[in-house]
């Protein structure tokens, strides 16, 4: 016991300092209560008496605290900031937490709160999703700090989305590992043996550095791994002691390793040649892409390949891969007629060439069928084959591929284009040209059909989603616009009706379909667009916004301009349909419970006033807009606000999809 006491008294100041913080926090909570108790006693009718504070409490409230001294030497967290600055990270969206207070202090004071700039977030999941959206515009990862326990627990779904969407981000989780010396109570609740365990199944790499030199190596390694295709999130545990204690070099000068990007993996030469042979000799080759264009440079490469073959391109939309204005732009209808299909960075090859019908067949588990002709040859280029994990099933069903390449599609495209060019026989050139003419005709028909379908219900109230989309486009078409999120999976009017050509015109969706991605990712992407002078617009589902609406405040606080047009269908619409379907399969009338959708799926009674919610957090907002005739003027007003640098939200009541 004596040893323990002595130990407590003589250990490093960080432990005592934290105790001081906790005491101050308690004071802050108690102070108003004490002040409130004193006033009525002096001026009003008699109230219940309160006990006077003890001498100790009174002293803690009023006495001058003893000099706590200053830490000697350079704080370890200052060195950590130097390491972070070495890779040029611009922002750090984060929700503050005591387990990383030392690096927090170093970032804003020693580091000057630039590169990275701390962005105040209200939820760790919002911080991660902001980083997710930011990367898809900027092509640079962001860093986020969180409590290694409760903060990382909040962040997990956002991390899973980033993993599935192949987006790099760096998570630093604060953790006080020294069980013998960390403060008891809350800091110990917020400590763990291995904080990274909770995200290990959906991060590319993680580490727990035990020295500052270890940290610098781990951080640069983490950045390098995150930025090597397939991209992905990484996590580093940040020990509180390591952050807080002074630098001790132990005879070796601390250094920061230089970051040198790793070349992305390219397809094997023989496999590329075989793929080219199949494509060049195909009667009807089809190109399917999901995240093939890793950067804007991927789009012209895909156009080259498609034009060389006059092959239709089915862009599944994980990224903006292929211009929607190109006559070879197609949809899933291209699949059944193909004799050779090349899939590039597909998240679900099985689902691309097979169909699953969610009906009552096979004992209620649904029916499977193939979409392709017998003998259709399948080629795959996917970097994800290099980084598959076991637990979470984002790798989807197993599909047999004739020419599989574990490689990055964009990096492989130049070699594939050249190989195809060499492999096309002269005798095939007429047939290829005819394929192009047929594609032009079917493209025109598809576009006409989209416009005709959009016209149906044009004047309906609630407002048709097609009308919302086109009224919005009318107000932004002359700007350098970027559609930063349109999260509902069944909502595809922008892809069908807008002339999407540039990489920033469409960013893809969340990856893991974890609801709650839309609003923070839109704000993160809008942040990157702000720095590039672009106009950001999102179509914001109602259910998605309510997961962590505090991110609206973050956008207002940091002056991130975004036009958020709500697709407010007042329900978790996919689940509306799922529960209806199951009720019918079981021959039971669905219980609506007084709402429009089955019990548990509606967001109504009361209706949420999203415009007021946004206004309360510093946004310009208007709504609810139910009459389509009022849309144009409202959007015009909102666009002007966004152009002035502020975020704006329109609460539009819409049709379900």
């Amino acid at each position: 016991m004596t040893v323990k006491k002595k130990d407590t008294e003589t250990k490093a100041g960080r432990r005592n300092f934290l105790g001081g913080v906790i005491a101050s926090g308690a004071t802050a909570v108690m102070a108003p209560t004490l002040a409130g108790a004193a006033e009525p006693a002096a001026s009003g009718p008699a109230k219940a008496k309160t006990m006077p504070p003890s001498a100790k409490t009174a002293a803690s409230e009023t006495a001058i605290p003893p000099d706590m001294g200053h830490s000697a030497g350079v704080p370890g967290s200052d060195f950590m900031v130097d390491v972070i600055k070495s890779v040029d990270i611009k922002y750090l969206p984060s929700n503050c937490a005591s387990s990383f207070r030392a690096i927090h202090e170093s970032l804003i004071n020693y580091g000057g709160n630039t590169k990275p700039e701390f962005l105040t977030c209200m939820h760790e999941e919002s911080a991660v999703a902001m980083a997710h959206g930011y990367f898809k515009i900027a092509g640079k990862p962001l860093i986020t700090l969180c409590h290694g326990t409760v903060g990382l627990q909040h962040a997990t779904m956002g991390v899973y989305n980033a993993w599935c969407d192949r987006v790099p981000l760096i998570i630093l989780g604060g953790n006080d590992m020294d069980a013998a010396h960390r403060p008891p109570g809350v800091p110990t609740f917020h400590a763990a043996q291995d904080i990274n365990a909770i995200v290990r199944d959906y991060t590319k790499w993680d580490d727990t550095p035990v020295s500052l030199q270890h940290f610098s190596q781990s951080f640069v390694r983490a950045y390098k791994i995150a930025m090597t295709p397939p991209y992905g999130p990484v996590a580093i545990s940040l020990d509180a002691g390591l952050q807080q204690e002074p630098v001790k070099e132990h005879g070796e000068k601390l250094y920061i390793p230089r970051y040198v990007p790793t070349s992305p993996p390219q397809g094997d030469t023989g496999a590329v040649k075989e793929a080219a042979r199949l494509l060049a000799n195909a009667t009807n080759p089809v190109i399917v892409v999901d995240r093939a264009a890793r950067t804007p440079e991927g789009i012209p490469l895909l156009v080259q390949l498609a034009e060389l073959l006059q092959a239709k391109v089915f862009d599944q939309g994980g990224r903006m891969n292929f211009p929607k204005t190109h006559y070879l732009s197609s949809g899933p209808a291209a699949i059944p007629g193909a004799d050779v299909i090349i899939g590039m960075e597909l998240s679900d090859f099985w689902g691309t060439v097979n169909a699953f019908t969610d009906n009552a067949e096979n004992g209620g588990i649904g029916a499977n069928s193939t979409k392709i002709k017998p003998g259709t040859k399948l080629i795959s280029i996917s970097s994800v084959d290099l980084n598959t994990k076991s637990n979470y099933q984002d790798f989807q069903r197993y599909q047999v591929i004739d020419v599989p390449m574990a490689a990055d599609a964009q990096a492989t495209l130049p070699a594939l284009i050249e190989a195809v060019r060499s492999a096309i026989p002269n005798s095939a050139k007429d047939a290829i040209a005819k394929r192009g003419e047929a594609a032009k005709k079917s493209y025109a028909e598809v576009k006409l059909r989209a416009r005709q379908e959009a016209a149906v219900g044009w004047d309906a109230s609630p407002i048709s989603t097609a009308r919302v989309v086109m009224e919005t486009y009318a107000q932004i078409k002359d700007l350098d616009w970027s559609l930063v999120a349109a999260e509902s999976p069944g909502f595809n009017w922008p892809q069908r009706l807008w002339p999407m050509e540039k990489y920033h015109h469409w960013l893809g969706r969340s990856g893991g379909y974890g609801v709650g991605y839309g609003s923070p990712a839109a704000i993160g992407a809008a942040l990157a667009n702000r720095d590039l002078g672009r106009f950001s617009v999102s179509f914001q589902p109602d259910g998605d916004l309510m997961y962590a609406p505090g991110v609206l405040w973050t956008a207002a606080k940091h002056k991130i301009p975004l036009l958020s047009v709500m697709i407010n269908n007042r329900g978790y619409h996919q689940e509306v349909m799922h529960v209806q379907r199951l009720s019918n399969f079981r021959n039971r009338k669905v219980n609506l419970g007084g709402d429009m959708g089955p019990v548990g799926t509606s967001i109504m009674n009361p209706d949420i006033e999203y415009h007021k919610l946004a206004e309360s957090m510093g946004w310009w907002a208007k709504g609810p807009i139910k009459d389509p005739a009022q849309l144009a003027s409202a959007i015009k007003e909102a666009v002007a606000v966004v152009k002035s640098g502020q975020p704006a939200l329109l609460n539009v009541w819409t049709q379900p999809r």
């Binding site: 219900g457 044009w458 619409h573 379907r581 019918n584 429009m596 049709q655």
Partner: protein
């Protein structure tokens, strides 16, 4: 079996249409359309969308619609008579018939 399954609703539709025992009401049909979740995939005015095809204007004939609704084995779940009565089905059809034609896409400036 398939033919028998299809004949029954067709016969029913003919009876409903000819004997006047039940006068299908568009107004009641609109309520039934919402209560039975048709709006979920087809929209409140039957315009269709990514989850379900367009139903209106110009809906398919009642006998066709009845046969499909009772026996579909695709993505849309079947509606038995226990879930959707004969009368409600006929009313829904009346509602869909009552939905006026939309403007042609060519006449909408935003679509051109």
């Amino acid at each position: 079996m398939t033919s028998i399954r299809f004949i029954a609703p067709m016969a029913l539709a003919i009876i409903l249409a000819s004997n006047g025992a039940f006068a299908a009401s568009a107004e009641e049909g609109k309520t039934a359309y919402v209560k039975n979740g048709c709006w979920g995939c087809h929209g409140f005015v039957g315009q269709g969308g990514s989850a379900g095809p367009k139903l209106a204007p110009d809906p398919k004939p009642l006998d066709f619609m009845a046969a499909f609704i009772r026996h579909t084995n695709g993505t849309m779940p079947p509606y038995s008579e226990k879930i959707l009565s004969v009368e409600d089905l006929a009313s829904i059809h009346a509602y869909l018939r009552s939905i006026p034609k939309s403007a042609d896409a060519k006449s909408i400036p935003l679509l051109n």
